[in-house]
């Protein structure tokens, strides 16, 4: 269920005969929506300002900025991977597990002295295969995407333990690969550049190609989309394959950055991805999951957590923050869509 669908379900009411919105004055609605659409940016600004005043010595440093940017880049790529199937109305709970397996696979291949480029390509190919299997389960076997990908995520956790033997693999990483994950051209963490590249491509696909438009149409009303001539099954399959590919890409980058592979790396990325995608749906293009909104949300959450950690908050503050954000985001989305109808 996409956010649109979720909020529509939360606000079901008759739409016949809606007398007034037909002549809804733009003057009042647009500024209000404007506030909503960019509220994440305002909150982000306010957070930076508040932490800056509170912790001027530790927070307002380029080191902190770099660490937040770098620390959230992988989370952002996973969240973007999730945005694609969500746009098409399918859940993918296996994005974090795919990332985790991809990390383990790259580490294992490195341990067996496989060429780094080949290692990464292998991980990407496996990501595509995982997405294809998800598609088969969801589209052909008609298993609910939530359940199907939940199962897949458990399968992948098992696979990650199997290839690592439950150990942390650190041997044999090629220096070239590590450089590709740790370089800082012009003091910018290279992971941020990977993120920017991924985000740009995905933003373009979702906003400026027919494929993106089709994804959103399927997510909004699959029956209507099918009767309007869209190949709904094929589109859902593509979205899951794209999610598998992007998750594996995130995993390959993470492996290069960490220089290790362990079955414990992937799973913690799941909840933040959902928080960011749903919080992102309240931003920029209100009511739809979208790339820019997701980026805003990822960094909003990242900055919030980072500041609290610098102020000495315990490490579980991150879970607390992400969980709360997920619930608040979905509640907000429901409210926004209700408000925009009356």
């Amino acid at each position: 269920m996409s956010t649109t669908e979720a909020t529509a379900a939360a606000t079901q009411e008759s739409d016949r005969d809606v007398a007034i919105p037909a002549r809804r004055p733009r003057g009042r609605v647009v500024p209000r929506l404007g506030l909503d659409r960019f509220s994440g940016l305002y909150v982000l600004g306010a957070l930076v300002l508040a932490y800056g005043i509170w912790l001027p010595d530790t927070f307002l440093t380029s080191e902190t900025a770099r660490s937040v940017a770098d620390g959230q880049a992988i989370a952002a790529i996973v969240a973007l991977a999730l945005v694609v199937p969500l746009a098409a109305g399918a859940f993918d709970l296996s994005v974090a597990a795919t990332l985790g397996f991809s990390v383990c696979l790259v580490a294992w291949l490195q341990g067996h002295h496989v060429n780094p480029v080949l290692s990464v390509l292998a991980a990407l190919a496996v990501g595509i295969v995982i997405g294809a299997v998800n598609s088969f389960v969801v589209v052909v076997l008609r298993v609910n995407s939530f359940i199907g990908t939940l199962g897949m995520s458990s399968l992948l956790a098992a696979a990650s333990y199997w290839i690592t033997g439950g150990q942390t693999l650190i041997k044999g990483f090629s220096p070239d690969l590590l450089r590709a994950g740790r370089a800082q051209p012009a003091h910018i963490p290279v992971t941020v550049l990977y993120l920017v590249g991924t985000a740009l491509v995905l933003w373009f696909v979702l906003e400026h190609t027919p494929l993106g438009r089709y994804f959103y149409a399927v997510g909004a009303n699959p029956r209507a989309a099918r009767l309007a001539g869209l190949r709904v099954d094929r589109l859902v399959a593509r979205s899951l394959i794209l999610a598998g590919f992007l998750s594996a890409l995130g995993g390959a980058i993470l492996a290069a950055k960490l220089g290790l592979g362990s079955p414990d790396v992937g799973p913690p990325y799941l909840l933040p991805a959902f928080s960011a995608a749903f919080l992102g749906a309240t931003q920029i293009r209100s009511g739809r999951v979208n790339v820019l909104g997701t980026l805003v949300a990822v960094y909003l959450l990242g900055v919030g957590v980072k500041g609290l950690q610098l102020a000495g908050a315990p490490s579980y503050v991150s879970d607390l923050f992400n969980g709360a954000a997920l619930i608040v985001a979905v509640a907000l989305a429901a409210r926004t869509s209700r408000a925009s109808r009356t």
Binding site: R16, D17, P25, A224, G229, T342
Partner: protein, 505 residues
């Protein structure tokens, strides 16, 4: 209607403004106990705003007064409306299909329980049976609501409305209760409504079908642009004067146009069977509108889905010599067979998508170059469509949900016509659309026949078929059993759909 009794509902000077637009401009009306009061008006006339104020969904501006049975109603509070004695039966009925009649009746009221919160099922079932019997329906209270016929479901919804936890029922508001009802069942519903009236309940009856109003209502209030333009006994009005009051002008008849020349076959259906549909043959030629009539369960609606490509079938459908694969709407569309499905909200509209996105979704190739969407080309195309199909307001970026029902339906028809189909398959093309927009939609469809389009129009509305179609196929029991040709009359069509049932039962 004795003047001595206090009115069941008194409304004085009700005003509501959304943003800058006035939805209601000082509405006043009185409804007495034991009267069926019809409320009519085009989409956007303020009917639904009025109902939503009564139900406590909207609050009016200060100065407005609503009295129910003599007591002032506090606004913006659904519970207050309930306790005051206002009841609502919405078009979708709000029943839960998986639950039984008795369970549906108990929702909102609470179950009758014994010690330990054990539900007294026997007593529940007895009460439910009695409540339904008092409305003239013999229904097993243990049956899931989803298994009932539409009119039985309506009865359950009405029984629930009038039985809600204590409190006198002063007014029952019925919002288009007949939309999904076949003609025979409408009569049954009307008997029920008259029964309620005779018990002294006031009924507000909203319907787009004017003949129903003449048949059922005592008085009628006409809303136009948020104002009451008339409240009159139905006996003082006729069909045309009522329409004039609603529109503020006389209705132009659709069939003044010259009948276009009928050309070659554009759609051939041979031996097609589905779930209900059995062995149907039909042909649609260029330049003609073939109507399909039939009561619920006759296969009429399934035929529309089959021929639109949205449902599986066996047999042969071909468009201009090209055979079509079942259940593949995309291939049908590519072959030039484009359908506008019934129940727009479930089957056609992309909610929270803009009018523009809704219009163009079926085919984005004209705006695509190197896999990239060119918005400017799309926008200019959409502007033309908004003009051609008179979609109001002409704001392409507005969410489609914000349009009135009639305009939403025009968007769906424009989406289909934009593909320049050879065959247009319409299923209930004007369901829930007001008279003015209905006539406009009919005109749009007939107007495009000259280009060689063939139309298959399935509808439960005989009036509509008589206006739009050149010939009408009658379906019964999944088969085409008869064909009516011009001159067509709504009564003949209705009679033909029922003919066999009359003979046998």
């Amino acid at each position: 209607m004795s003047s001595s009794s206090s009115p069941a509902l008194r409304v004085v000077n009700l005003t509501k403004t959304f943003g800058g637009a006035q939805a209601l401009k000082g509405i006043s009306l009185e409804i007495v106990p034991g009267e069926i009061h019809a409320l009519v008006g085009e989409n956007g006339s303020g009917k639904s705003t009025f109902v939503k104020i009564l139900s406590g969904y909207h609050s009016p501006e200060s100065g407005g007064v609503v009295e129910v049975g003599g007591a002032a109603l506090s606004f913006g509070d659904a519970e207050a409306s309930q306790t005051a004695g206002l009841r609502f039966v919405h078009q979708d009925l709000g029943l839960i299909d998986e639950l039984t009649c008795a369970e549906n009746l108990a929702i909102g009221r609470g179950f009758d329980t014994a010690f330990g919160r054990r539900i007294r099922w026997r007593r529940e079932h007895e009460a439910a049976r009695a409540a339904l019997a008092s409305l003239g329906y013999e229904i097993d209270p243990r049956r899931p609501v989803g298994h009932l016929s539409v009119s039985e479901r309506t009865a359950v919804a009405i029984a629930r409305a009038v039985s809600v936890h204590g409190g006198q029922t002063h007014v029952v508001v019925l919002d288009e209760p007949t939309v999904n009802l076949p003609r025979a069942e409408i009569q049954r519903l009307f008997r029920l409504l008259r029964l309620l009236r005779d018990r002294g309940v006031a009924l507000i009856f909203i319907s787009h079908h004017l003949e129903e109003i003449f048949e059922l209502a005592d008085r009628v209030t006409v809303l136009r642009d948020g104002e009451v333009v008339a409240t009159r006994p139905v006996s003082e009005l006729d069909h045309d004067t009522l329409i004039e009051a609603m529109l503020g002008r006389a209705l132009r008849t659709v069939r003044g146009d010259v009948r276009s020349d009928v050309g070659a076959a554009v759609l051939t259906v041979r031996g097609v069977s589905g779930e209900v549909v059995r062995d149907v043959d039909l042909t649609v030629r260029a330049g003609e509108v073939v109507g399909v009539a039939g009561i619920t369960g006759s296969g009429r609606d399934e035929l529309a889905r089959l021929v639109g490509g949205g449902a599986p079938f066996v047999g042969h459908i071909d468009a201009g010599g090209q055979p079509l694969r079942p259940n593949r709407p995309d291939l049908f569309i590519r072959a030039g067979v484009v359908s506008v499905p019934a129940e727009r909200k479930a089957n056609a509209a992309l909610p929270e998508h803009s009018v523009r996105e809704n219009l163009t979704i079926s085919d984005l190739t004209p705006y695509t170059r190197w896999k990239v969407l060119r918005r400017s080309a799309e926008r200019s195309d959409v502007r033309t469509l908004l003009e051609t199909f008179h979609i109001r307001p002409t704001l392409p970026e507005q969410p489609v949900d914000a349009l009135s029902g009639g305009n939403q339906q025009k968007v769906m028809i424009a989406r289909a016509m934009r593909l320049e189909p050879r065959v247009l398959v319409l299923d209930e093309p004007t369901q829930g659309v007001d008279v003015g927009a209905q006539a406009e939609l009919h005109r749009l469809v007939r107007g495009s026949l000259a280009t060689g389009l063939g139309v298959l129009a399935c509808s439960s509305n005989s009036e509509e078929l008589s206006e739009i179609a050149d010939r009408v196929l009658i379906m019964r029991g999944g088969q085409v059993v008869d064909e009516l040709t011009a001159p067509l009359s709504a009564d003949d069509i209705s009679a033909a759909t029922l003919a066999k049932q009359k003979e046998t039962s």
